[in-house]
Symmetry: none
Subunit: 223 residues, 2 copies
């Protein structure tokens, strides 16, 4: 579990961090909205703890921008007394709310509650790697939390790649496994499908690497 804490006060970040680590969560830190967005690009964040009042980019703005590209559950922190109006305006979409000073234990409790609610219970049929999520049961591809329109063939090809990571797969093999043994078509067709699939995968397009004179390969880099 990756928790992203966005707060300009280092003290608060540290407290939250300590409690989160204690729970076994991994913690990422940002001092303002810009840093937060940066991290979202690079890492796979499960939940965000967001302060409202921050220099540079404040919590509201961050939240708006986050929603454009991601859909990550968010708990908002705010000093008591900050205007209700503004808060309620954007509260549609936030998952929970705490006023400072807050009890770290309560924060943890709420994080847990949200993760429980949000997290996919049927983990088995779901594949996640970096910002890629594949729901095999529902046949949906998510990129950074957003469902992507994908054609049946694309989905089948991607599935085959995922099930055979770090393996150079020939076009012939793909035709056999995805199209079926009785299909006889032009091998070049694959190229076009790879093109489309790569486009659907957005910034993760490079995970499908071409292996010259052989075919393609899906890169999976555990760590």
């Amino acid at each position: 579990m990756n928790v992203l804490i966005i707060d300009d006060e280092e003290l608060i970040r540290n407290v939250v961090k300590e409690y989160c680590l204690n729970e076994g969560y991994n913690v990422l830190e940002a001092a303002n909205g810009y840093e937060g967005l940066d991290i979202l690009e690079k890492e796979n964040v499960d939940i965000i703890v967001l302060d409202i009042m921050m220099p540079k980019m404040d919590g509201y703005t961050f939240f708006e921008k986050m929603k454009e590209n991601f859909n990550i559950p968010t708990i908002v922190l705010s000093a008591r007394g900050e205007e209700y109006d503004k808060l309620f305006g954007f509260s549609v979409g936030i998952d929970d709310y705490l006023t400072k000073p807050f009890s770290p234990k309560e924060l943890i409790a709420r994080i847990k509650a949200i993760l429980k609610r949000t997290n996919n219970n049927n983990l088995e049929d779901i594949y996640t790697y970096k910002g890629i999520k594949v729901d095999f049961k529902g046949r949906v591809l998510y990129i950074d939390g957003k469902a992507v329109d994908i054609t049946p063939k694309e989905f089948d090809i991607l599935s085959y790649f995922i099930k055979n990571p770090n393996t150079a797969i020939t076009r012939d093999q793909l035709l056999n496994k995805v199209w079926g043994y009785d299909y006889f078509g032009d091998e070049r067709t694959i190229d076009t499908h790879i093109k489309i699939l790569r486009n659907s995968m957005g910034k993760y397009r490079d995970l499908i690497v071409t292996v010259r004179s052989v075919g393609y390969k899906f890169i999976y880099d555990e760590k």
Copy 2:
């Protein structure tokens, strides 16, 4: 489902309203206790969201009077810091309790929980989601509270979908599970049944999504 929200702050009413509408609940509004009682006389209210601090008639008084003639589940909102004593005194009888500022999502979750607890005592036999209610025992489909004429096949198909949410289901699978393993008919027949079922589901028709080249899928979005 009719939700009555009683709060003098229009802003809060609006937020609650928005979230409730999103759930498919119908919303009635009152700015104080008097208005609230008025509405109770005229409308059929399923659950009340009640603010404590209000001009004219406050929440306590409203609650007392409501209890005299009705017995409607009630969730109380109160600003943090309002005396617990007083609250405790009357908390006998209320169904749940939230301090402002609260997370709208949490409010919805609690409304759901209470409605579930109160409304269908026969939890197993009744399924509710958004404005859809399915009485499995009685084999009745309700859309926004209204019973809908539905054929046996439609009902069976819908049931199967509900029991397998967010799962792409092939036409073949449907034929097997709904018609029976020994049925041999045209797969396109399914399409026609889906068409009819979607029509029966009115504005929720989009919950049955077609998964191209595979079949169909029932969307269930908890949260």
